[in-house]
Amino acid sequence: MNAVAELLRKKLTVPNIYLEPRSPYIAADVLAVDRAGSGDLHAVRIELRRYREFKAPQDVNETEAAWMKFIREAMKNAQDELMALPAHYRYLAIAHDSWDLLVGEIGPHLYSPDGIGRIGIIAITDRGEDPPIAEISIAPERFRVDPVKLRNIEKKLLEKVRPDIEVRI
């Protein structure tokens, strides 16, 4: 989560960053609001945990196929959730290894059904004892956001809860 937050802190302009914001209005793992809280919303779903839940079949020959099926399903669920998130920029953060397996087939599924917006992909590389690093593999494109949902997030989350990471004045 810190690697993703650090990536957004560098990419955006003095963003306010919320880690696992507890809000019924936005189910993101990391939420960054650009330009000191006055700009676009960037929401990230991190899908590392589900991969850890994978139980390999007893027959080793079936493992790779089962793994591919498992991550495809996890990816599909995450994409569906991301499509419904009220944020201008949406990202799916996944392990670098998984991304290498799926790079060819995922592209067309990242676009919004209305053609406005594309989910960005963040690849996370585990570096053993060093902290993991996050990199943008596919750049996101801006989504259209329902103004009523956006206002709810502004009023009930951004105006009330202090961000976990911010530049203090």
């Binding site: 302009t13 809280g37 006055s38 700009g39 203090r168 004045i169």
Partner: protein, 127 residues
């Protein structure tokens, strides 16, 4: 027309701040550049804020004057002035950093970048 001017100054301020960020990532190589970009991004942010609040920027070549003008404009509109102290710090260092004969060490450059980032945060909330 004012909106366009605000965008021009804001855009310039953002570019300079982003360039400062790049230099800040390698301060031993770019301390001077980072310090100068910090100062100039803050001056551009100040111009953008002044345009937003009063429809004009400070004409004085003395940037210290801009600190007074932006403070007055904020007080008139009851806007918190807490971020302006960082602008003050930056414009006070301008002559020394731009034309002085002393080295800018990493510590000083980092302090100026931090001040610029804090002033940027204050300004972004107004723009």
């Amino acid at each position: 027309m004012d909106e366009i001017r605000i965008k021009v100054y804001h855009g310039r301020a953002l570019q300079l701040a982003n360039a400062m960020k790049l230099c800040r990532d390698d301060l031993p190589s770019y301390a001077w550049a980072a310090a100068l970009l910090a100062i100039h991004s803050a001056i551009s942010y100040c111009d953008a804020v002044l345009f937003k609040l009063s429809g004009q920027r400070s004409r004085s070549p003395d940037h210290e004057q801009a600190v007074t003008v932006v403070t007055m404009a904020c007080k008139k509109r009851k806007i918190p002035t807490d971020g302006i102290k960082h602008l003050d710090k930056l414009v006070s260092a301008k002559t020394d950093i731009s034309y002085g004969d002393q080295q800018v060490d990493n510590q000083r450059a980092e302090a100026l970048c931090l001040a610029a980032e804090r002033f940027q945060t204050w300004a972004e909330r107004l723009l």
